[in-house]
Symmetry: C5
Subunit: 154 residues, 5 copies
């Protein structure tokens, strides 16, 4: 049985982990393990532990970088660690980051975090169970959290 890890943070202002788990449960049959850490810079090793200690096949890393310049730097560092962890493991980590300043206010922020977490949960389902669906969508301008932009035509 496929095992999916959910790594999320106490820093974020919406429970993206819960949204992702709900969406995963609606769309596939998999074992789910959750691991919550303080902030996004703790996510890379949280993913490493989910792979090595919990034997997950894929992990979602969910976080909300703040809006200050230092937060952007933190997000960049976390992302590099997440990419590096994937290369060490040879397994996917689907990073789901919503920057606090992507939304005009708290309600919009929470809605965006919910939507992006759910849409990326569907990407996890496709990667693990239906990879041919992703190939069909290649180059079609898919977006998560926003409306798809669609393909550009010559």
């Amino acid at each position: 049985m496929v095992k999916i890890g959910i790594a999320d943070t106490t820093f974020a202002r919406f429970d993206m982990g819960k949204a992702a788990i709900d969406e995963l449960k609606r769309n596939c049959s998999a074992q789910i393990v959750r691991y919550t850490v303080p902030g996004i810079k703790d996510l890379p090793v949280a993913c490493k532990k989910l792979f090595d200690e919990q034997h997950c096949d894929i992990v979602m890393a969910l976080g909300m970088p703040g809006s200050k310049p230092v937060d952007k730097t933190c997000a960049h560092e976390a992302s590099l660690g997440i990419i590096y962890c994937q290369l060490m493991e040879g397994k996917h980590i689907i990073e789901v980051f919503v920057h606090e300043d992507e939304a005009a206010g708290p309600a919009e922020l929470a809605a965006l975090m919910d939507k992006r977490a759910r849409e990326h949960a569907l990407n996890v389902v496709k990667l693990m169970f239906k990879p041919k669906l992703l190939e069909k969508e290649a180059g079609t301008g898919q977006r998560q959290g926003y409306e798809d932009v669609g393909p550009a035509r010559i």
Copy 2:
């Protein structure tokens, strides 16, 4: 028989994977494996999997970074992962990125993505089958997607 991996994304707005595969088929005899992932930050591990699980000899990583500052950071992170993956494997990944803001509009964008994918497919053919051709072109100002700028002369 040479095995070429094609890693591309659903985020991109043109099917660069298809263009690359078409060009490869016209110009060499190789086995081709395709793997589509959501976005450019998923490309490094997609390449890793194409090497380790599919035993590819070389991979093309095709993507279209968006035009916002956060997209530029994503492209930078993906590129570092792609370089690091190559060093882990000792094998080439030809990165084919077209930034969405390189083109004035959708038609120009699609044409550029098609052209750059095809011209880099030819680089793959040269690297795998005719490395001496690349040596002949050393220092001659080759470009992919745009006209070659040619050599500078003293």
Copy 3:
């Protein structure tokens, strides 16, 4: 018995290591090892040594990046090293950085360094002894050193 490493610097202008150790001792029963190095760029290998030579289960890396652009770059480099060290070890390093320019003056700076060190020490306690508490706080907008911002609601 859990062993906690404390890596800190002589560059910082407040003894964050002492504050962290005091808070740890009040809240858990663990063995504590301290290692002081000159600056934040020495912290990644200090953590590595605390894991490999002292067999720590988790490490706190405490530092105070200065306010000049070069100091921001140093902090970025140190953070990348700290993330990379965690991936090598599969163990957490809780980074506690207070940027000198986060505070208006020395008194505010010292108070912030004390508070953030203590609040992150509590995160260490939760990670090692009560991980379910962190899961309860997922997505609730926790902050260390400042007031929590709380969750955003749809």
Copy 4:
């Protein structure tokens, strides 16, 4: 016999590889292997292959980053890969990059690329055959391609 690898690109607008090889041949007796790749981001793995497949003792990585911001990012990524490759191998890669916007026009650009490639070829000779010469020049403000600035005096 010492084996020197020469990694260069078709993107560059001057044949720096040829200049480097010419200068090496004038100044030492070594076996030389050349490997040309499309662009600077292909250089790190080109060096890796020159070490692992061709058993080179040292490699020169020659390239010409373009003048656009994206080119500066590419150069940064290539340089990080080149540094990382050296650490994996424990062997030197002498990076010889000339940024296209270092020169006012094509003739100056070509002259600078020729001169820097040649002067760094001499650094390779010193590293492999006369390391004591470098020690004598320590702290003397050596430059490659431009006039030496010389030491600062208290």
Copy 5:
């Protein structure tokens, strides 16, 4: 007997390696090995060689980044390589960089390079022979090359 590596460059405008060696000899009994390379980007692998080929216990990496934006990028790349090398080895590299634009002119520059090299040499002595002295200085605002700023008080 402790073995200390000194890695420095011909690019720098003051012989920091000599200053560091002089200060080390005045303050401890250790074997010293020096290795001079062209520029700061050659320092990470120089340190790697000092550890692996010369069996050093600790290394000082001394350099003078120039004042242009490209030089700042080089310094950043070198620093990342130096941090990464430390993690590979589990041993300290004390980076001693003086940016050319830290000083108003050549005399001030040379004096700063001399002073910082010497003060960091004392850090090396403390790390290897008297680590408890560093712990005593934790959080006291130590600086190298400039006057110490001292602790901030609540």
